[in-house]
């Protein structure tokens, strides 16, 4: 395991892997995407979901359940990280303040980022972007001030509150359709006009929940790492 033996062996196997993966991928018909399901979705999505962005239609409609899982993974990761880091000696070392420029810039950036994030979330069903992207920007909005002034930590309980409610909201929206005898996550509310802000039924609501949840989770997660990471 020591010396160059492993490197050599790794390189050999790696070379083999590369060759074989390449052979494998070359056998795939590139540019002739199968489009079995894809084509059908493209043709049916506008009618069924009312979302102009077909990727969004898939994410929230056809594969909405995946998205729930995805959100959950972030939540799991955040919880697990919290669990793992809970024993670490957080914040017993004084952290260097970020300085005035950084602080002022962060304060300045905050509203812009929040608004941008909200915009991207709300237009997720119309344009590229959506809950995740927006949520990430939102998280950045809360995370940047933390980097600028490490001494004022993020309010984790608020984040958790937002997180919890957002997640609950997603599921409750999903469960709501059960009451009408429909399957879980069946879109409701009117589909509206394709391309309008208030269209695509409940999908934007889901995106909102996702955005809030992703934002709070990412912020919490990174904040935790920073809090502990400052020490070691």
């Amino acid at each position: 395991m020591h010396g160059y033996g492993r490197t050599t062996a790794s390189l050999l196997f790696l070379a083999g892997l590369v060759v074989m993966l390449y052979a494998l991928f070359q056998a795939l018909p590139f540019g002739a995407a199968p489009m079995q399901v894809g084509q059908e979705i493209v043709s049916r999505a506008p009618g069924e979901t009312g979302a102009a962005n077909i990727v969004t239609a898939i994410l929230l409609g056809y594969r909405g359940f995946d998205t729930l899982g995805e959100v959950t993974i972030l939540f799991v990761a955040a919880t697990a990280a919290g669990l793992i880091l809970s024993g670490a000696g957080a914040g017993d070392l004084p952290k260097a303040p970020g300085g005035f420029i950084l602080k002022a810039a962060a304060d300045l950036l905050f509203p812009f980022l929040v608004v941008l994030g909200a915009y991207i979330i709300l237009h997720g069903h119309l344009t590229p972007g959506g809950g995740f992207q927006g949520g990430a920007i939102m998280a950045a909005a809360f995370f940047i001030p933390l980097l600028a002034s490490p001494t004022s930590p993020l309010n984790h309980s608020t984040a958790a509150l937002v997180e919890g409610f957002a997640g609950t909201a997603f599921i409750v929206i999903g469960l709501a359709s059960l009451m009408w005898g429909e399957a879980f996550l069946t879109p409701f509310l009117g589909k509206g006009t394709l391309g309008d802000l208030f269209s695509a039924g409940s999908l934007p609501l889901l995106y909102l929940a996702i955005g809030l949840k992703v934002g709070s989770e990412l912020a919490g997660l990174m904040a935790r790492i920073v809090e502990v990471g400052g020490k070691s």
Binding site: S10, F25, A33, A52, I73, L85, K231
Partner: protein, 154 residues
């Protein structure tokens, strides 16, 4: 579809798949041949990127548009939207895993004082305090005296 487009598609395909494989290979190399856990994690991130690139590349069609309906026009050829959705999910999953990994990394460094995989492996292997290696040499032996004669002349 124009022959040009097909040619472009072929080269693009090679480039995209090749790039994906390269990313994966570099990532795996970092994970396999490097001893620093941080690099292992970076390698992991590379592998994930490579895989995502591969997934996106699957959905490519020459001369097709992004899967967003603009102005109600639905009959333009669009790239397969499904892999894009998948990749979006996969990216987020990767982020979560990496974040957790980072958290673990911090604890590993804190606990063992090192990020060297060899040291960590040594620590793990040595964990059962006085691991008696000879725990099973003699499964069953008769008391010494009897074994002498327990032979066979056959």
């Amino acid at each position: 579809m124009s022959p040009d487009a097909l040619l472009v598609a072929e080269y693009l395909g090679r480039a995209l798949y090749g790039g994906a494989i390269l990313l994966i290979a570099i990532g795996i190399y970092a994970m396999v041949a490097r001893y620093n856990l941080m690099r292992v994690l970076l390698g992991l991130a590379l592998v994930e990127s490579g895989v995502n690139l591969f997934l996106v590349a699957i959905g490519f069609r020459p001369e097709a548009a992004a899967p967003i309906i603009v102005g109600g026009v639905t009959d333009v050829p669009m790239v397969d939207p499904l892999p894009q959705a998948l990749v979006l999910t996969a990216i987020v999953i990767g982020v979560g895993v990496l974040a957790l990994a980072a958290a673990l990394l911090i604890r590993v460094k804190e606990t063992y004082g090192t990020l060297d995989t060899r040291e960590v492996a040594k620590f793990l292997a040595a964990e059962p305090a006085d691991a008696a290696p000879a725990a099973g040499t003699a499964v069953a032996g008769t008391p010494a005296r009897e074994t002498v004669n327990a032979g066979s002349a056959s």
